[in-house]
């Protein structure tokens, strides 16, 4: 137990140090690297908090996909001319006041979270009680796809809206065209080698994470993020072309997840108790079918978000 506490304290100190580094370091590139390290360490913290599902999501999305996105952004923003700034950096007096105020906020939060005594509010007994009705064994997947399915459905819509927002930033003339990912035809041999080596393994891992998500930590988000990473890798290495955003198959892949979810939800009004309710006999097959469709949409959406707005007119 003592060893466990030592690990916890070391981990918490490392996470906080990485966060400080990300804020204080002068170079933006170093800050991004610090942030990626922070994301991966945070995933370990989630394991220590018995939340392996969250740990997988944090590692795949917080550390992995966000990392690629930020590294590309730092390349685009800090190349050549002076980086974009909103006015001069604040002076030492402002910094000191801000530091004091933020320390007060942190202290207040620590007090609120740790100072309370008595039993914590929890929905765990309710979730555990109703989990058998869904046929699932992973309570987190049960919450995501059955008990709080509306949250998950709306989140899919948020993903799509964000992608539409990103696409709407394309220059005139490039609408419907191809985003640029990596430097076409100039990928290094190492990148090309990795892009050939990893995807066969990564695709199997992604689908496995989706499949075991019903009964063990894993699920659609985590599996989708792994699949997205594999596709991004292949596109960056130039082994797989970046699709034009006007392609019908791409649009179909983006919306199939939310549409399948919505269709099952509406069907629930007629064959079960209401919107987004499942008939008990078919709950698990329906949930797995929705998860499969969502995984595909998440993978494609995340990859296209990283690719950014289209830059070149696509072939008609």
């Amino acid at each position: 137990m003592t060893a466990g506490i030592a690990v916890d304290i070391g981990l918490a100190a490392l996470v906080a140090a990485m966060a400080l580094w990300t804020i204080l370091v002068r170079d933006a590139y170093a800050a991004v690297i610090g942030f990626i390290g922070y994301g991966l360490l945070l995933a370990l913290v989630w394991v220590r908090l018995d939340a392996v599902d969250v740990a997988l999501t944090e590692a795949a999305i917080g550390g992995g996909v966000t990392g690629v996105l930020l590294l590309r952004a730092v390349g685009a923003l800090h190349r050549g001319a002076a980086p974009l700034e909103d006015g001069p950096p604040p002076g030492p007096a402002t910094r000191r006041i801000a530091a004091l105020a933020c320390a007060a906020v942190a202290a207040g939060l620590a007090f609120v979270v740790l100072g309370v005594s008595g039993p914590a509010p929890t929905l765990a007994p309710l979730a555990a009680e109703h989990l058998p009705a869904t046929g699932l064994k992973n309570p987190v997947t049960g919450v995501l796809l059955a008990f709080r399915a509306l949250d998950t459905l709306l989140e899919k819509v948020v993903l799509l809206l964000a992608l539409i927002g990103i696409w709407s930033l394309s220059p005139d003339g490039a609408w419907g065209g191809r985003p640029t990912l990596g430097r076409p035809g100039r990928a290094s041999d190492t990148l090309r080698f990795l892009a050939q080596l990893l995807p066969p393994v990564g695709i199997v891992v992604g689908i496995h994470v989706l499949w075991v998500g019903a009964n063990a930590p894993g699920g659609a988000f985590q599996g989708g993020a792994v699949l997205a990473a594999m596709w991004i890798l292949a596109m960056m290495a130039g082994l797989s072309p970046v699709p034009a955003i006007g392609r019908p198959w791409l649009r179909a892949a983006l919306v199939i997840g939310p549409l399948a979810f919505l269709a099952v939800g509406v069907a629930g009004i007629f064959i079960a108790d209401g919107f987004l309710a499942y008939p008990p006999a078919f709950a698990k097959p329906l949930i797995l079918a929705i998860e499969a469709a969502i995984t595909l949409s998440i993978a494609v959406t995340l990859a296209m978000m990283v690719a950014g707005p289209p830059q070149r007119p696509g072939a008609p």
Binding site: D8, A12, V15, A16, A19, T22, I23, V32, F35, Y38, L42, L49, D50, A51, V54, T57, E58, I61, G62, T66, L69, A73, L77, L84, E85, D86, G87, P90, T94, A98, C102, V105, A106, A107, L109, A110, V113, L114, A120, T122, P125, A127, A128, P139, L144, R148, E155, V158, L159, A162, G165, I166, P171, G219, F221, I298, M305, V306, G308, P309
Partner: protein
């Protein structure tokens, strides 16, 4: 004890992220700070979920599911914000703001 350590860590992360959000002048650095802040909030949530553990479940699954949703939504917001900043730089309008 685990919860105390990570509770303090989460609170510290919120403070650090908030500080970065205030003092950073570059938009990309502010986006990073915003994500640090978000990570801290999620961690506090995780500590509360851990306190809600019952027999057979190591942690309350409802906050966990919300954090998973939150991580994905934070990623979409980050991706959109980065695209906006990159476009701002491409069009060169960000530079005029201070002098206009």
């Amino acid at each position: 004890m685990t919860m105390t350590v990570f509770g303090l860590c989460g609170a510290a992360l919120v403070g650090i992220g908030l500080y970065g959000l205030i003092v950073q002048a570059q938009p990309l650095r502010r986006i990073l700070a915003f994500n640090l802040l978000g990570g801290g909030v999620f961690l506090l949530f995780g500590v509360i979920a851990r306190r809600g553990a019952v027999e057979g479940l190591g942690s309350d699954p409802v906050p966990q599911a919300m954090v998973i949703t939150g991580i994905v939504v934070a990623f979409s917001a980050t991706a959109l914000a980065i695209s906006l900043v990159v476009r701002l730089k491409e069009t060169g309008r960000g530079d005029d703001e201070g002098s206009a």
